[in-house]
Assembly symmetry: C2
Homo-oligomer: 442 residues x 2
């Protein structure tokens, strides 16, 4: 018979316990920050009807990147490529019953059929946080503060990242009033700005030139050049600086100052790919010289729930991803040392397995996480296994230990051994766990 390949499906990763420790660390930081801002967890199904994405998610994603198929009942479905349409659907379904402002978060897997590459996998995990029902800029400021709090909770220093901020209404004012583009030209220009960092300055200029009508080209290119020099909202050309859209961005920067969020930057060239944004948009950039890129972003998308036939609801959200977070932590040397969740490994001397199992049950009743070696192997093999698993404590249990009720506990990191009675065992191991929890700041 032909054997099956043990490799995972292309573009996806198996998460072995040592990989999972890291993912769980990232998830626990996300969870801690989201909950500290009063966000409550929710989840939506893995599959959604195709129509949900056809409506608003952006052309590329729907036509080339979705995992789309027809189920056994003839329904056209998609493995969700993002959470925003699903959470909008959920809010729409209970439009009347929900207590607003609703602050919701989820940590969930998504799939996109992309060419696998660094920082991009076909299955990926995201935190999604959204606040529903707040029309004022307080909501935008809160979501951006939370993005900043997440970076800080991972140990990032200010210089390691920048939060770039722009506004969709301001982009519209720029395109329509300032550059005098029509609807089609505006779409093209937004797409071009979106690619700005990926192409050369010359290509950017050449492609921008093609978008303008002949009569407006020279003036338009001149205006774009001066726009791209703008580095604070106060630097905008006067025709733009007094627009209501610019005024709103100024107010937002004021709020962010009040909340103590530093390291934010105005960036008129920041577009955000999705079609559904209606207000402030932002992206968090990695400043590492070898990894300069957008890590994640978010913004205001009032009205997406309207697709499902209910009145629009003011909404601001964001979605950091696990893979980019891992890359960030790795390149800035911020990964913590993560050991096994198991606290102690029982090494069995001779024939003591029955007594050792009883001791293990007693330790579990005290909330200690215990693995028992039931393999009847030589001592050195048992020890080697525990060390390979990165379990912090070894406990040696033989007939003598059981009858004296004194056990030898070895601290693997400190290579230190102690003979302890049961109560002391529990205290020593729990002290270690509290210390480790403190490190993660829980």
């Amino acid at each position: 018979m032909a054997y099956l390949s043990p490799q995972p499906y292309r573009g996806t990763r198996d998460l072995y316990p040592e990989d999972m420790r890291l993912q769980n660390y990232i998830f626990s930081v996300w969870r801690k920050v989201a909950e500290s801002f009063g966000y409550e967890e929710y989840d939506a199904p893995l599959l959604e009807p195709f129509e949900v994405y056809a409506a608003k998610s952006g052309q590329d994603l729907v036509s080339n990147e979705t995992y789309q198929f027809v189920d056994r009942g003839g329904r056209n479905v998609v493995i969700r490529p993002e959470m925003t349409p699903s959470v909008s659907r959920m809010v729409a379904a209970r439009r009347q019953e929900i207590a607003y402002p609703a602050r919701w978060y989820s940590i969930a897997p998504f799939m996109r059929y992309e060419r696998p590459q660094r920082g991009r996998e076909r299955q990926f995990w995201q935190l999604n946080t959204d606040v529903f029902g707040v029309e004022s800029l307080e909501a935008d400021a809160e979501i951006i503060s939370m993005a900043d709090a997440i970076m800080k909770a991972f140990g990032a220093e200010r210089k390691m990242y920048t939060i770039k901020i722009n506004s969709r209404p301001l982009i519209n004012t720029v395109m329509t009033d300032y550059l005098q583009l029509d609807v089609i030209q505006t779409q093209m220009m937004i797409k071009l700005f979106d690619r700005k960092e990926k192409i050369s300055h010359e290509d950017f200029e050449a492609q921008a030139a093609e978008i303008f009508d002949d009569a407006k080209r020279k003036d338009g290119l001149h205006k774009i050049a001066s726009l791209l020099k703008v580095s604070t909202i106060g630097d905008l050309p006067s025709e733009l600086a007094e627009s209501p859209a610019a005024e709103q961005v100024k107010q937002l920067f004021g709020l962010l100052r009040d909340y103590g969020v530093a390291g934010t930057e105005f960036d008129i060239a920041l577009m955000r790919g999705f079609d559904y944004y209606t207000g402030i948009v932002f992206e968090v950039f990695d400043n590492h010289p070898e990894n300069r890129r957008s890590m994640f972003g978010g913004g205001r998308y009032d009205g997406l729930v309207g697709l499902f036939g209910v009145e629009p609801i003011a909404t601001v959200g964001m979605a950091p991803g696990a893979t980019t977070t891992e890359d960030f932590l790795r390149s800035h040397n911020l990964l913590p040392k993560l050991s096994s969740t198991t606290e102690v490994y029982l090494i069995i001397l001779g024939d003591a397995v029955k007594g050792a199992q009883k001791l293990a049950a007693k330790l579990r009743a005290e909330n200690v996480r215990v693995e028992v070696d039931v393999t009847d192997r030589k001592l050195d093999k048992q020890i080697k296994t525990a060390i390979k698993k990165q379990i912090p404590y070894l406990l040696f249990v033989g007939e003598q230990e059981l009858s004296e009720e004194l056990y030898t506990l070895k601290d693997v990191h400190e290579s230190k051994e102690q003979r302890l009675a049961f109560e002391q065992l529990v205290i020593t191991i729990k002290d270690y766990r509290h210390h480790e929890k403190d490190l993660l700041d829980f």
Copy 2:
């Protein structure tokens, strides 16, 4: 324009925050028990190549119940309907590097295209725990102990559930040596035993009669009748009682007694649906009079990794599901009262939002989970929102409170108000949280 339906995909559920609290409670109990036995978390991708299931998962599942499709690259893939083939694949891929015994668990979503009904959803969540590399019955006893520990951790009393135990080698001895069935007849008889609880006694007997050759029918039916009266492993007819397979089951019951697992029962009619089991099998039954049924099970499946071209590995595992657990907890009145993860809701008096945000940041720095009402609404509306969200504490913050640094904290459950300084606030709220954690036994 036509609106989209806000309903989730058929047979799946949206998990709103109040549903998620219950799911998170179930997951946290699973996680706690699995980790207390030294199991470490892993995860596998949502998609697997179709061939992985074609090989071993049982005919019905593969031909009628899988979510199967061809991806944009022409690969035939399946949304995983169970974890066992995936985890076997993962172990096979690192056969040499893994430290044995490997104890692994995952909590993950799966999909099967089934007719939606109570306790069955198209997307469902399971805990999977597996121990790899232990040939002795210690592994079988450990997995069964863990099933029992999970039931107890949910607050279940002994009379609420029964753990039924059987053995695949014993089933084979019964079919081949005792009932003298050939391979095809054995398959038919196993399928019939599997349906025993779902059909009448008369139907069972009639269908059993049809399986036997004419010459063996009378004797065979007589033997089946006496087999079905067997209630302990000691009651087996003597031709079976001395078989190595029966001997092994006896040893297992001995180990379970040593480990303090009561409420186990031998059940010669227990078959388990999947084809891959090779040793002890078990199922946990709900004894509730209105809900008598199998909740989950497991067993030994040495050799499944062999599909991927490596040497077999001794393996025992089980997989409880979230939906059946929820049904069990509900029907036995074991659901705990679950409030919001948010601990305190800041009610803003007048114009104090800026100061309140600073206070919220200080509370978050002390690991308090705080939501701020930024809606500028009347007091009673703000209070109503917090109560609807089931947040345990309200904190009233106005200009006066901020300048005096004394805040009014209201305990919603006890309808009690206190005026407290910042340090007292933190202590009061943390005391509540520790109390709640104790209830969940963490």
